[in-house]
């Protein structure tokens, strides 16, 4: 079964997962665990907290597969959205508010896979494009986007942290994302 499942598209695997097919779920896990874990680690700042978020998120994917709507985007976007929500929940529960800062550029645990599939190579190109687009934003905009998305802070918390009016923070978030959208649209790397 598992061998057959590997030949299926994500959306077809989700149909099987809805019916309780654990082998199909295992293939989905293999495909999406690395980007999901990368996101969870970036948010939580530690292996143990990232693993807790991953466990919660993937069990949620398994149990709530029926909620996946292919008209609203890809399976990967849906899975990463669940990981993000679980990460925000964990951060706001206050368990890891004092987490260490994450080194984005040279983390010791970072592992590079020497054998890249074409799809993975394309994803890495997209990742480079997203990072490049982020660098085009004014610091004041990328700062509030990062604090909100990866840090789980609300706009009022961010306003207090950077000593700026709440309206200013909201405006920076909106303008920053609109600029990011324009930059990414040029390279056509926006996910479905």
């Amino acid at each position: 079964m598992a061998r057959d499942a590997r030949a299926l598209a994500d959306e077809d695997l989700m149909q099987l997962v809805r019916g309780g097919d654990a082998d199909a779920f295992a293939v989905l896990y293999e495909r999406h665990a690395a980007p999901a874990y990368s996101l969870a680690y970036r948010m939580m700042g530690s292996r143990s907290a990232a693993e807790d978020v991953m466990q919660e998120a993937f069990l949620s994917v398994w149990r709530s597969g029926a909620r996946f709507d292919r008209t609203r985007g890809s399976v990967r976007t849906w899975v990463l959205g669940i990981v993000h929500h679980r990460g925000i929940d964990a951060l706001r529960r206050g368990k890891v508010r004092n987490r260490p800062a994450v080194d984005d550029d040279g983390a010791a645990e970072r592992i590079e896979d020497p054998l890249l599939t074409d799809a993975e190579a394309a994803r890495r190109e997209d990742a480079a494009a997203v990072r490049a687009a982020m660098r085009t934003l004014p610091e004041e905009q990328s700062q509030v986007i990062g604090l909100a998305y990866f840090g789980g802070f609300t706009h009022t918390e961010i306003a207090a942290m950077i000593q700026a009016p709440v309206g200013t923070v909201k405006g920076r978030m909106r303008l920053g994302l609109m600029k990011l959208r324009d930059e990414l649209g040029r390279g056509a790397v926006l996910p479905t």
Binding site: G19, G20, A22, F25, A26, Y29, E30, A33, A34, P35, A36, Y37, S38, L39, Y41, R42, R47, E51, M54, Q55, L59, W62, R63, G65, G73, L80, G81, V83, H85, I88, D105, A107, E109, R110, I111, D113, R123, R124, D126, V130, M134, I145, A148, Y149, F150, G152, T154, H155, T156, K170, G171, M173, R174, L177, M178, L180, R181, L184, V189, L190
Partner: protein, 232 residues
């Protein structure tokens, strides 16, 4: 060109970015969603920015998740899949509550333990790390029970597959009691390895056992245990 706006648009005009980033407070999120219902302009903007936000995870440094995490997730998933299969296609996909069947075959417990001794699968037991850290209970060369922070996991290698059409079930025997069934059902992977979440009551139990049972598990064992692990 421009889409029609809804009531309160002036108030919510800047909130789209905070909303798609998840940065509104819960009560604000609910109120903003109500606004979105009546404001085509904001709905369109949110739709566009949601796509942008979905690209943000690609910007983080790549990391490989540890293999043990996959084992933990899949142990839970396979256990639930077994329960689901046993319950039929109409079963609820929510996480199963931990089950406690009534014991219907207590007098067989002594015989079952004796059978395990006879078939030579009761292995040398070593208990280590009784302090605050993880506690590992060895069940011979090929299996161990790890109890860490209230969570118990059975980890086995080179385990034979159960007979066709059956799964393994974990049983817990409390001190002075008889073996009780658990919802921990599993089938080893093709390489004979298995990682199984076990109810944390096992930490205070006298014996943990594993036997092969019909899919969905049994209220009382229907076969001799293939593994018997004295706990304390």
């Amino acid at each position: 060109m421009s889409l029609p706006t809804g009531p309160g648009h002036e108030h919510w005009g800047d909130a789209s970015g905070a909303y798609v980033l998840g940065a509104l407070a819960p009560e604000e999120t609910d109120a903003y969603r109500e606004h979105l219902d009546g404001c085509a302009a904001c709905r369109a903007e949110v739709g566009a920015l949601e796509q942008t936000v979905a690209a943000l995870p690609a910007s983080v440094p790549p990391r490989q998740p540890p293999a043990v995490l996959r084992d933990r997730v899949m142990a839970d998933v396979r256990r639930e899949a077994s329960l689901l299969a046993a319950a039929g296609s109409g079963a609820d996909r929510l996480a199963p509550a931990r089950r406690r069947w009534s014991w219907a075959g207590g007098r067989r417990a002594g015989a079952l333990v004796a059978a395990a001794l006879l078939i030579g699968l009761l292995a040398g037991i070593a208990v280590a790390g009784l302090g605050g850290g993880p506690r590992t209970i060895s069940a011979g060369a090929n299996a161990r029970l790890v109890i860490d922070d209230g969570h118990a996991t059975l980890i086995a290698d080179h385990m034979a597959a159960p007979p066709a059409g059956r799964v393994y079930q974990v049983w817990i025997q409390p001190h002075g009691g008889v073996p009780e069934p658990t919802a921990s059902l599993f089938v080893p992977r093709a390489d004979g390895s298995a990682t199984v979440a076990v109810p944390d009551e096992v930490a205070d139990a006298e014996v943990m056992m594993v036997s092969s049972e019909p899919p969905g598990g049994s209220a009382a064992p229907t076969s001799a245990p293939v593994m018997t692990v004295p706990i304390s």
